[in-house]
Amino acid sequence: MSYEPKIVGFLCNWCSYTGADLAGTSRIQYPANVRIIRVMCSARIDPTFVMDALAQGADGVLICGCHPGDCHYSEGNYKAMRRFPLLKNLLKSYGIEDDRVRQAWVSASEGQRFADIVGDMTERVRALGPSRVHSTLLADQRER
Amino acid sequence: MAIRINPKLVTAIAKYGAEDVQKCYHCGNCSAVCLHADETFNFPRKPMRLLQMGLEKRIEASLDPWLCYYCGQCSTQCPRGAEPGETMMSLRRWLTARYDFTGISRLFYQSWKAELAAILIMAVLTAAGFLLYGFSYGDLRVYDGPGAFLPSSAVHIFDWAMAIVLVLLLGSNAARMWWLTTGSNKKIKFDFWLYVKKLYTLPLHFFTQKRYADCESRQPWKLHLWLMLSYVTMLVLIMFFLEPMQAGPDIRWSVHALGYAAALGLLVTVVYAIHGRVKKSEVHMKHSHESDWIFLFMLVLVTVSGVLQHVLHRAGTDMAANIAYVVHLALVVPMLTLEVPFSKWSHLAYRPLAMYLAEIHRVALPQPKALTEPAELMKMAS
């Protein structure tokens, strides 16, 4: 059986999670590789979550929040947005490929968009092959 | 250099008929629906704007009002009930008054009483004149031949005299129109050959009024054309064939056939017009200025009296025919002398002239090409 990447998706409760539900109610198909974890706001997503997910063996991590300006908490998604580049740098320093971690904005009415994003991401990650982070990171931790 | 606006004009123009012009909030619908408005002559909205702002000089200089034949589309579709059609009509009245150097026209349009009085006086004078002539040179019991009360020869001379006066009056006003709209326009330099080349448009529009035919409904054009041809026929008959016309008592089909046709045309169209204006059956008949009524009724009376004197003469009752003739003349003379140069009838000259000048403008003025490309649009806008 071909390699199936595991992707963890952190979705904000108000827009993205609802959007994912809409994909469901509208029966829009997308790869089963993503496992969704609901948080109240994209601002809640601590970079360490992402690191942890990768450490636990995720091949990719998807972060979704409301479109800029739509945040239920008025500006949470901006905070997430500002935080993301830092995370990216961190990941680079670990030698983790850029495509493995992605941030996207999905509104409550964009079921299709969510499906597309997941589909696209799955392909990219599949192309990258299994993540080595799991092992390497564990090694680091052992040294510490 | 900025021009001073004159808020008072709107109130003044009301006398000429335009009462709703101020209602216009400038959506541009009228200009867009008008089939005669084009790149050079954009109306009725633009003239309405000039009117609202009281820019008399600009209005004087514009031919727009004459290019409108009042099909009424603009008025029916106007979202504010601003009656663009009627406003153009009123502007034509106002312009007529402006072209007329004697100021009589202005007087007539602003007070129908004055116009009526003038007509009466003129009628009385004419009647008196012809009676005097008749009694001193002829016999009331004789209609034609020797000793006729009003011999065609005499009347004929009078016709021509009057015609010349009219042409002079109308001509001078037409000249003023040319000067105000074209002659004084710096942008249009005088080009004799152009004027000659375009000359054909004058008779063309006078006799066919083809632009009228372009309006939404052709019905008004047909009627108007019929009316016009009828009195042109009548005019020709009177100016050139008065003698055989008047001779009798037996019918001379050569001329009379035409005469009958013309008389019929006049009667039918005029009665139709009156009926329409009373019933307000059509858009362009909704609003009637006093001058319209006076004109129409004069026309009816003239036609009827004319027919009457003819019938009486054929019936052999010469005396009655003569009296009818005097009455007829007492109506014709004031109508022609007053209506043609100073009132509604003057448009028979101004309209074709406007068409003619419009042609000149189109050639002489730089032609903006039709806007269909957004790019150009943006260029223009910026």
């Binding site: 479109h67 009415s109 | 619908n29 200009s31 867009a32 979202p79 649009l377 943006m378 806008a381």
Partner: protein, 605 residues
């Protein structure tokens, strides 16, 4: 104090006997002179001043339907005569609702108050009534939803009656909302869900109010619950029934741009999230159970009952909130725009659906295309996501609005949503050109003007001038109108034309108005009690209006009104006192009250 009363005749005051009023007023104490002015009187301050001096009047009362116009000329006269111009008082019949029941009596009362220099609302305060704590809300649009939540959050019971199968109203159909461009679903659906599972809200969808009797504070309501044929509790919205249903008709929710089944759910996020059966098209119902019934067999929870009958429920409420919203102006009425003739001349709502991410095209802006309906064998113009995108889009403002031949009033929202459309077009089809034909750009709200500037900057051609007509020149739609700023008549090609249709009172407004005894204004919207002082109260006690049904409004204003109404309701419940109908007050009541107030009045200014 010597008072002179001038009564102004006007077109509106049919049904009001001015002479009777004059006679009545003449007998009031203090009134020195009464005069009826003819229609559109030509008044001169100089003359009036002389009159005032000769009669040595200290107060002038101007009575009439809306006599406000003449106040300045009298004020000037008063000043000339050395009196106090502030003592020119208005007795406006329209302002205080004398268009309703026995107008003349009301008018008398209004004048009486003015004569005493007492504002009518002060003197005319109906007795308070006891209040049933339950509230009826008619209409489940954003106004109804907002009001319902506010009141229910206050711990008071609400019955929300909605005519269609789901709450959400028009807003649920929209894609984005101006000027913030946040998606309507994102902000509305949470509120809809909240309404759906609020303990204090009883939701009656697919239902209509049929009868309202009783009096303020205690209204008896009859509601017709149309057969939904699906068990509200049991249905899990699994779509099995809809999948099997052979009947396919054009979806109202997608403004007929896509298909739905005879058993359907208006849209995926509907509340209640339960299917319903359309009796007009369901084969089983039409054939009285002889044919079809496929869904019955298919439903895993056996929660479909196609034999279900409509039923009437009765209950009592204290307050009633009317939030029936609006319908769109029927664009077919303006033939020269070719709506219904040319498939790609769309109404604004149709475009909302096309551009909506959860709409028939998944948010792709495309031209309509012909599709054969397999069942009916007729070709229908529908929005197909695969169809071609327009290269040019023209948006026409004020369709049916600001036009005496149709609706004289301004619909208030079209300018802004048109700008929003322009933005969406430019955003989704950067190549496409986009025109707006407007008369006045009414960007009056918070952040609206800035929004307009933004749209301009995005490169939309904003043309001042009303489009005269849309025609088809060998297959190409052409829009003709005058560009007033260039003063040129222009003809522009447009693949898609969007008509920014205005709004009209919702169907059935007239009947409802009769049922409730709430008057309507000349344009058919519900009349508020007082334009300035009480924009959400009505002539009837404890009946309120909120949102579009009172007059065109955008979402923030609608929501504000809805909350305002909630305040009115919560207040009456909190203090246990509602307000009775104004009509319960007799002339003498008001008269004496006015006199009282004047006696120990605290003069303002």
């Amino acid at each position: 104090m010597k008072v002179g009363v001038f009564i102004v005749r006007s077109q509106q005051d049919d049904g009001i006997n001015l002479q009777a009023i004059a006679n009545y007023v003449a007998n009031l104490p203090k009134v020195e002179k009464v005069r009826i002015l003819e229609r559109e009187p030509r008044l001169k301050s100089e003359k009036l001043a002389a009159e005032i001096r000769s009669e040595s009047l200290q107060r002038i009362v101007l009575a009439g339907c809306s006599p406000g116009y003449f106040k300045p000329v009298f004020a000037r006269a008063m000043a000339m005569a050395g009196g106090d111009p502030e003592e020119v008082r208005l007795a406006s019949f329209r302002e205080h609702g004398a268009a309703t029941v026995d107008a003349t009596e009301r008018a008398k009362a209004i004048v009486a108050c003015a004569v005493c220099g007492v504002p009518f609302p002060l003197a005319a305060e109906p007795k308070s009534t006891s209040v049933n704590p339950a509230t009826l809300i008619i209409g489940g649009g954003v106004a109804g939803i907002q009001a319902a939540l506010e009141i229910a959050d206050g711990g008071k019971r609400v019955v929300l009656v909605e005519r269609t199968g789901t709450i959400g109203g028009h807003m649920a159909m929209f894609d984005k909302t101006f000027p913030t461009l946040d998606c309507a679903a994102c902000i509305l659906t949470p509120k809809m869900v909240a309404v759906g599972d609020h303990d204090m809200i009883e939701l009656l969808t697919n239902a209509e109010v049929r009868e309202v009797t009783g009096k303020p504070g205690d209204y008896k309501v009859k509601v017709l619950k149309k057969a939904r044929c699906v068990d509200l509790e049991a249905c899990v919205a699994c779509n099995a029934c809809s999948d099997i249903c052979p009947v396919s008709v054009l979806s109202e929710f997608d403004s007929k741009l896509s298909h739905r089944k005879a058993i359907y759910i208006p849209f995926p996020q509907a509340v209640p999230n339960v299917y319903l059966v359309d009796p007009e098209t369901c084969t089983y119902i039409l054939t009285e159970g002889k044919k079809c019934g496929a869904c019955l067999k298919k439903c895993p929870k056996e929660c479909i009952n196609l034999k279900e009958k409509d039923q009437v429920v009765e209950f009592a409420v204290g307050n009633i909130i009317v939030a029936t919203g609006y319908d769109l102006f029927d664009a077919k009425r303006i033939e020269r725009y070719g709506y219904g003739k040319y498939p790609n001349v769309l109404t604004s709502l149709e475009f909302e659906r096309i551009t909506n991410a959860s709409g028939p095209t998944g948010g792709k802006i495309v031209l309509k295309s012909k599709k054969l309906n397999k069942r009916t064998k007729v070709e229908e113009w529908v929005a197909d996501p695969e169809a071609v995108a327009p290269k040019s889009v023209a948006i026409i403002h004020c369709v049916g609005s600001r036009d005496e031949n149709y609706n004289p009033y301004c619909s208030r929202v079209c300018c802004m949503y048109s700008l929003k459309f322009a933005h969406l077009v430019r955003e989704k089809l950067p190549e496409a050109t986009c025109y707006e034909f407007y008369i006045d750009m009414r960007a009056f709200g918070k952040g609206y003007e800035e929004f307009m500037e933004r749209i301009k900057a995005e490169g939309t051609h904003i043309i001042r001038g009303r489009t005269a007509q849309v025609s088809e020149v060998n297959g190409q739609l052409v829009v003709k109108g005058e560009d007033l700023l260039l003063s040129r008549v222009i003809e522009l090609p447009a693949d898609m034309v969007i008509l920014a249709v205005g709004v009209v009172p919702a169907a059935g407004t007239l009947e409802l108005a009769k049922m409730l005894g709430v008057p309507r204004d000349d344009d058919g919207w519900f009349s508020e009690l007082n334009y300035n002082a009480s924009p959400t109260h009505t002539e009837r006690g404890d009946i309120f209006v909120a949102g579009m049904c009172q007059g065109p409004k955008d979402i923030p204003d609608t929501v504000a009104q809805a909350s305002a109404v909630a305040a009115g309701v919560l207040r009456t419940i909190a203090c246990g006192r509602g307000t009775n109908d104004l009509s319960t007050l007799s002339l003498s009541d008001i008269e004496s009250r006015a006199a009282q107030i004047e006696a120990h009045s605290t003069q303002v200014r």
